[in-house]
């Protein structure tokens, strides 16, 4: 009888399926560089038992977790270890006021909006040594960090002025969740996506309303704001996927992971009806090529040696293969696939003064691999990995979409994909 009753042991976050094998701890980038962090097994499933006894047993060492999710990828029992840790942090800090520093780092879109208006001044000021020292001492943002440069023109402004009108003419359509980085810092990536999709015969459309996905808000404890923004985004995506029948494309692995997986797991926002409608652009394009729905034709004279770095959240989704295989379609590209290692930045984590040294220690293995690969550039799907690798190795880092757009013979591709051709 007992065995028929106890068919499964399944409590919240399935932490009791942990058999304490400790594989997660062996892949944890934080535990590898500091004894201050007890590792995902102890911080997650083990600590959870104590926190259930009394929330006062919350261990402040949990703040050292990067939320890179490597533990979840490694777990043979499918325990959502990082989710357990993040939710514990959430419960422990719910209702606390975030510091000015954390609020500023977390509000990537607010900061972007202001900075765009005064981009040259902001870029210059943020790059000045005195500014950095003030930020280091007053704001506890590490002086070694450089803020990503802000663009003079937002992506959305460019899109409305130069691209929006032409999109309806294409036979197929997708929506695009551009994210803060594309909008405020690097509109070129969005432009590259539009160029690529258009050449394949796909019109690109913005969502009805897009707000910052909130990945940094969650990481910095601004949960209420994260929930508000998540609701807005989920409603817009639901409209695009449900009403218009669009797939919603993204060009940032962290935004994608947040929209698809962290919304339900962290913010309890139900999205199972639209989750499959959200896809990283490389995955979407790879599938189109694979199903022979589109053809990509590349420039004959393109020649580069590039290393691909798998961002941690990319690995959690298991989607790095799409980006890698798509890049491998470029004839002139010598692609070196790096062993998956965490770069150490983890969004806003590495910007904080108290985390800087740990962040660099974590990334050192990856930086060594990159150095050994002797490449001219690095490709990755995550913008914060990009900043970290650029700062730490001096090499340029590009999104696979930009590399594809650069290598693409646009005219030939357009002709190959036009109806009746």
């Amino acid at each position: 009888m007992a065995d028929s009753m106890q068919l499964c042991n399944l409590s919240e976050n399935n932490f009791e399926q942990c058999t304490k094998c400790s594989i997660c701890t062996t892949v944890c980038p934080v535990a590898a560089v500091t004894t201050d962090y007890p590792g995902p097994k102890q911080a997650g499933p083990d600590g959870e038992r104590y926190r259930m006894k009394d929330p006062a047993y919350f261990d402040k060492a949990l703040k050292l977790c990067l939320n890179c999710k490597r533990c979840e990828v490694a777990c043979p029992s499918g325990v959502h270890i990082a989710d357990i840790i993040q939710r514990a942090r959430m419960k422990a800090t719910m209702g606390h006021r975030a510091s000015l520093r954390d609020t500023m780092l977390a509000n990537t879109d607010l900061l972007g909006t202001v900075a765009n208006l005064v981009a040259p001044v902001a870029n210059a000021a943020l790059g000045l040594k005195p500014t950095k020292l003030v930020m280091h001492s007053v704001m506890a943002i590490d002086k070694n960090r450089t803020f990503p440069a802000y663009s003079r023109q937002k992506f959305t402004t460019w899109f409305k002025r130069h691209a929006a009108k032409a999109q309806d003419a294409y036979p197929n359509h997708v929506s695009y969740f551009h994210g803060c980085y594309v909008n405020y810092n690097f509109p070129k990536l969005g432009q590259d996506l539009v160029k690529l999709m258009n050449a394949m015969g796909y019109g690109v459309h913005l969502l009805e309303k897009e707000q910052c996905c909130g990945v940094a808000l969650i990481a910095n404890g601004l949960y209420k704001q994260a929930m508000r923004q998540a609701r807005v985004n989920t409603a817009s995506i639901r409209q695009a996927v449900g009403t218009k029948g669009h797939t919603v494309l993204t060009t940032s692995s962290s935004c994608t992971f947040n929209l698809r997986d962290e919304y339900p797991a962290m913010l309890e926002i139900e999205n199972s009806d639209i989750r499959d409608g959200i896809s990283l652009a490389t995955r979407f394009i790879y599938n189109l090529v694979d199903e022979e729905k589109v053809k990509l034709i590349f420039k004959q004279d393109y020649k580069r040696r590039i290393a691909y770095h798998t961002a941690c959240h990319m690995q959690r989704m298991g989607w790095q293969l799409y980006s890698i295989e798509l890049l491998r379609m470029i004839p002139g590209l010598d692609l070196q696939v790096l062993e998956q290692e965490c770069c150490g930045i983890s969004g806003t984590y590495g910007f904080k003064k108290e985390n800087y040294e740990r962040s660099q220690a974590i990334g050192s293995i990856l930086f060594k691999h990159i150095e050994n690969a002797r490449v001219e550039a690095v490709a990755t799907d995550c913008e914060t990995c990009k900043w970290q690798i650029e700062m730490s190795t001096g090499l340029p880092v590009e999104n696979p979409i930009s590399i594809l757009a650069d290598a693409l013979d646009v005219e030939a591709t357009r002709r190959a994909n036009s109806a009746g051709d």
Partner: protein, 535 residues
Amino acid sequence: MIIVGGGATGAGTARDCALRGLSVLLVERNDYSTGATGRNHGLMHSGARYAVTDGESASECISENMILRRIARHCVEETDGLFITLPEDDLQYQQTFVEACQRAGIRADVIDPAEARRIEPAVNPDLIGAVRVPDASIDPFRLTVANLLDARLHGAETLNYHEVEGLIINQQRVEGVKLLNKQDGSHVEVRGRVVVNAAGIWGQRIAQQAGVNISMFPARGALLIFGHRVNNMVINRCRRPANADILVPDDTVCVIGTTSDRIPIETVDDMRVTREEVDVLLKEGIKIAPSLATTRIIRAYAGVRPLVASDDDPSGRSISRGIVCLDHAKRDGLEGFITITGGKMMTYRLMGEIATNAVCAKLGNTAPCVTANQPLPGSEEGAPSQSDMTKRYSFGQRAAIGRHGSLAARIEKDNDIDNALVCECEGVTVGEIKYAVHQLHVHNLVNLRRRTRVGMGTCQGKLCSCRAASLMGEFRHDVKGAQEDLAAFLDERWKGMRPVAWGDTLREAQLTAAIYEGLCGLDKAVNLQGKEDVQ
């Protein structure tokens, strides 16, 4: 004077005697708290459970309950308890119950079922009635050790692994005990003016050795330990006591129990839990908290209640749940021998007081009993406050303070090694292991587990046991001994898992076996056959 038995009663008696200035030796044939003391619910009764059927026990419980909250703070968690009425129960009984509680002096507040669901979300949502009482959770291992520590602090000597082989009797007077040292096989005789038999259910054998007869009625109870807490308040059924009607949150786990079966005295050492017992516990347990149906069970265990026949009824039909103190001089004409038995872990202090009063009467000692007011070591004032805990102490240090109270200050924590976790499930550091081994009479890993919770978590010793064994081997300069101890410990852990070995508990056990046997070859290195069962 000599006390036989290192359970809560023996330890409580030793403390009381030592505090009244007597010269005390306590002997225990196994480890401390291995009998009924370590094999119950860990429930600090308010007395409500006995209120209807046994008013006297109920009054004793509530009075001791209030005392233990003061003197044993670090062993007690003030959870409060609920007595719930389910649709299949008679709601009329609630009225009878509340009135009986009031008569016994137990606060019993009838609360709305919705309020019960709010304060204890794990409770069966179908409940139709609830009463809130001052039940709590208590750690009997800590409680026993704290009493022993205080006894030693006041001059007592305590020996575990010393078995009484016989009593020294001279002209109708017990003058001492013959002991077997189970660790080195040596024999020793110790003399004292009074021998107190506090051996629980095994007290019948001790009495036989003195040639007197006590009729014990062993009642066996089985319990299940779940991997984590589902409830933070004690939950009882509001009905006449029956099988599996109490769910207690104990430290990091929760425990459902018990069954109750009369067993022959010859079988009291057989603690194996049967499949039928597991089934009954689960079937009834999920009525209290439905989530138990899908919560991982980590162990099953059983204990034996030392019920005793009322002395004026040699037939044994009338059994007392109350405390029985026998002065064998008056009863059997045998001087220098006292038996303290019956009662409950909950009333150990009172039993100690009663036994010590009897001893003092014999020895002409007039010192008053102070055990009701003097805090146990670990429960003195000055333990860190809750907010201090989160700010100043690491997770492992906080877990240790939870276990040892103010005594945690004795645990070394000045470097990374001492702060490193040996047991990750229960947060036991290297420093805590050192403290336990050097100061709390630890001879093997099983002892260590009772003092610290090493190996009591969901992995049941998978990761911590080899780390702890390695430390023990280092302290004792005995690698082979540590290896044997490790094998015996893992074997002991498996025994408790076997009755519930399905699902994740089975996966857990299989991984443990794969590591220690398959990978490390422990079964080849150590032959446990023929070794005496450490339990």
